[in-house]
């Protein structure tokens, strides 16, 4: 599922969900502005939710 995300979005999800970095740390590590981190994370999660819903149409809304 994660592989289906474009690299910049995937990177942010990994840093946030797996490495547990704060928004500011992510901004430093990836050298993008804080606002971009926030918008990319929101986009990445929206996309993952869609993918999850596609993969599992019955249980997606549960």
């Amino acid at each position: 599922m994660l592989e289906d995300l474009p690299a910049p979005l995937r990177e942010i999800v990994i840093l946030r969900e797996m490495e547990g970095l704060s928004y500011k740390e992510i901004a430093e590590v990836t050298a993008v502005p804080l606002g971009t981190v926030m918008s990319r994370l929101a986009r990445a999660r929206a996309r993952l939710q869609e993918l999850l819903a596609d993969a599992n149409p019955a249980g997606a809304r549960a």
Binding site: M1, I14, S22, Y23, Q49, L52, R61
Partner: protein
């Protein structure tokens, strides 16, 4: 708080990146609004699903591609009879490299972990940036210190001294509740021309008075000191000289 604002802040809320007051507002909204509450539940579900299903570590992007390219290159130049054996050899080397890189990356990240004062400086700058970004500078916008000081009553277990220095060019703009160092703190907001100064104040019962210590983060100047068993952290994009002038003023008067 409107549904639109909640949608904007929902990720920050889920990630624990919001200030105390925003957090409370979000919680109140979720109690009253079933649609937003279910959005939040879905987001939590997604995060739970991910934390269970993602591999623990993934090497930085590009490393795998580089190794693969190298593998192909080597395989292409070897005589056919040895190709099979060589490929395995290279696969083993590649795997070892990936593991080493993963280990080095982890250790590098761990050794980059800053000490507590560093963390606090970072937290203070984050709070400062957040207060400007979320258009949430003040909970009590007032240039009257007799309004700002009582506002904190009942919200904090201490009463911050609130000064105002209009004749020196530092005007009190208001106050806000914030969260630093694992506790609620008072954030006093001052204005100098177009620059905003956040002054974070909270008790430091066991600390003696200190000099003003200066540091810098992401282009923001950060000054901190202890006086009369209180911690003071001032953060601003104001130049270092004027911010120090402000700090001296606060330190002298309150």
């Amino acid at each position: 708080m409107s549904c639109r604002e909640v949608r904007e802040l929902i990720h920050g809320y889920a990630d624990g990146e919001l200030d105390l007051v925003r957090n409370l507002e979000m919680e109140r909204h979720f109690r009253d609004c079933a649609a937003c509450a279910s959005d939040y539940e879905r987001l939590r579900g997604l995060r739970a699903a991910m934390s269970g299903s993602l591999p623990y570590f993934q090497p930085p992007a590009g490393l795998e591609r580089k190794l693969r390219a190298r593998l192909r290159e080597e395989a292409g130049t070897e005589p056919r009879v040895r190709e099979f054996a060589m490929r395995w050899q290279w696969a083993a080397i590649a795997a070892a490299l990936v593991l080493t890189a993963a280990g080095v990356w982890r250790i590098a990240r761990m050794s980059l972990r800053p000490d507590p004062a560093e963390i606090l400086a970072n937290e203070a700058v984050s709070s400062h940036v957040r207060s400007l970004m979320a258009a949430h500078l003040t909970d009590v916008p007032s240039s009257d210190r007799h309004t700002v000081k009582p506002w904190f009553n009942g919200k904090l277990d201490f009463s911050p001294a609130v000064g105002d220095f209009p004749s020196q060019g530092f005007t009190l703009a208001g106050g806000r509740l914030d969260y630093l160092d694992g506790r609620p703190v008072a954030a006093l907001v001052y204005q100098r021309r177009q620059h905003v100064i956040n002054l974070f104040v909270w008790p430091a019962p066991d600390h003696p008075d200190s000099e003003i210590l200066a540091t810098e983060r992401q282009g923001y100047h950060v000054l901190h000191w202890t006086k009369a068993h209180m911690n003071y952290w001032a953060v601003s994009d104001l130049n270092a000289r004027e911010l120090r002038e402000f700090a001296e003023l606060v330190r002298k008067t309150v």
